[in-house]
């Protein structure tokens, strides 16, 4: 199936000379939730802004549902809804007016029933006559989402959707995004909350200093996440690993004082009991032991600081 978004060699250098993106290639699959992770200033917002038509790319091109976003901008932009990171709203407009404005702007005829449905879904119906300046930050965030959904887009960009949002609203938002996916909407979200990507995404891309350093199925990343390590501190250092222990996934530290056993935490049996029996049979005494599980956050940090790890 044709990807819903194809990003081909997109780079961006601003007038100041700052290079925000270095030749990005990425395909977003139809109907998936894709999380773009990266530290602040990595280029996430620039990439989204280029796809949505707010920033001009320096080179490369983007296709939305097979349509060039520059040459056929009308057709492409009708498909796309954007919830920007900043809560930029017209303070004196009412919720109803601002959401209706967005629908009209995107070329759709007025449809009060649909706007009502969106506002109810986002728990904004009671606030429909309120002016934007009277709303809390969380409510404004909901209005931004309502505006983005007002023209029934099939691709939704959420730029840091839960930045500065309380736990309850974050959960609500995750529910809403899942609901959208069930209705066939492709969702691309940027975040620097690992938890968010872990909770929602089908695939994860990691961007750093304008380069896409990893694109991976979340499940595959979770496999890495599922790798657990058991560190066995030995009473007496070993010179080499005894042959009887070679069938285990073991590694010996350089000084011979520590054995590291790597196993899959998702397996029914970890093999630890068997390993410990074998160690006793070999007469190897233990001083201490500890187990450790790498988090997605650690994987992310190691990728960002050490891009070779993605190879």
């Amino acid at each position: 199936m044709q990807p819903i978004i194809q990003i081909q060699g997109v780079s961006k250098t601003y007038a100041s000379g700052f290079t925000a993106l270095k030749s990005i290639d990425l395909e977003i699959r139809r109907g998936e939730i894709f999380a773009l992770l990266g530290p602040n200033g990595a280029g996430k917002t620039t990439l989204i802004s280029i796809i949505c038509g707010i920033v001009n790319a320096s080179s490369g091109r983007v296709l939305a549902d097979g349509v060039d976003i520059v040459d056929d901008y009308r057709q492409a932009r009708r498909l796309i809804g954007l919830v920007p990171q900043e809560l930029t709203t017209d303070a004196f407009e009412s919720v109803w007016d601002t959401v209706s404005f967005s629908r009209g702007l995107f070329g759709k005829p007025a449809n009060p029933a649909y706007i009502e449905k969106v506002l109810r879904q986002l728990s904004l119906w009671d606030k429909r006559h309120s002016k934007m300046l009277a709303l809390s930050g969380g409510m404004k965030r909901r209005v931004m989402i309502a505006k983005a959904l007002s023209h029934e887009p099939s691709i939704l960009f959420l730029d840091e959707p839960t930045a500065g949002v309380d736990v309850e609203l974050r959960r609500d938002m995750w529910e809403m995004v899942r609901g959208l996916r069930e209705n066939g909407v492709t969702v691309i979200l940027t975040t620097h909350y690992i938890e968010e990507a872990e909770e929602m995404a089908d695939r994860i891309g990691v961007i750093n200093r304008g380069e896409l350093i990893l694109v991976e199925e979340k499940q595959a990343l979770m496999q890495q996440l599922g790798q657990k390590q058991l560190h066995l501190i030995l009473q007496t250092p070993l010179e080499t690993l005894p042959d009887a222990l070679r069938r285990y996934n073991l590694s010996l530290s350089d000084d011979g004082s520590q054995l590291t056993y790597t196993f899959d935490a998702h397996q029914d049996t970890s093999g630890i009991a068997e390993l410990l029996r074998s160690l006793t049979e070999q007469g190897i005494d233990l001083k201490d032991l500890q187990s450790k599980q790498s988090s997605l956050e650690e994987i992310f940090v190691s990728l960002v600081h050490n891009p070779e790890n993605s190879q």
Partner: protein, 253 residues
Amino acid sequence: MNLNGIRAIYAFEMNRTRRTLMQSVVSPVLSTSLYFIVFGTAIGSRMGDIDGVSYGAFIIPGLLMLSLLSESISNASFGIFFPKFSGTIYEVLSAPVSPLEIVAGYVGAAATKSLIIGALILLTARLFVDYSIAHPVWMLAFLLLTALTFSLFGFIIGVWANDFQQLQVIPLMVITPLTFLGGAFYSINMLPEPWHTLTLFNPVVYLINGFRWAFYGVADVHMGLSLGMTLMFLLICLTAVWWIFRTGYRIKP
């Protein structure tokens, strides 16, 4: 053509006018009425006719032009500057609307508002001064052309301005002096040399005189020249707006 998009921008801008009725409509009508009271009724009664037109009536086209120019510029410049300033412009830029449609929405609304103010000023002037309109169709044409041209000019200023001060500087420091010195209150034929010749370099002279000709059939410069100058300024503004959207100048990095 995204008609719904144009309608949305136009309605948004007209709503803004409704929300700020005192400031955006009542205030310019009131301040222009003060000119009619002071210069038309009070001082005007002591002054002689100019080109066979009573002084009170003579200043109507100029005063109307003064309001029309400053209101068109300030409406259109604020209309595009504020979304740029607050960041809400992201939505317009990411929407399936062409540059022409964006301009039609913003400039159309600004020009409409100026025309409403112009009509109200004309009606209010009736309370203080007796006047007639010799060429009503031309009067409407000049009114429409000026409102449109200077709304476009305001749009350009709104895109160019980086802060509120820059937004005000052209209307206050350029347009208002040019209008006062462009024969709003006098016939430029009354000026001695070299001021008379110098004044001919003031483009507002042609706008005011075209308008005055439409009212009273008399003017300091030929009506054809006035129309030509107005159309030329319209063309310059259209070219500048086309360039802005082609290059993304100050709206799209």
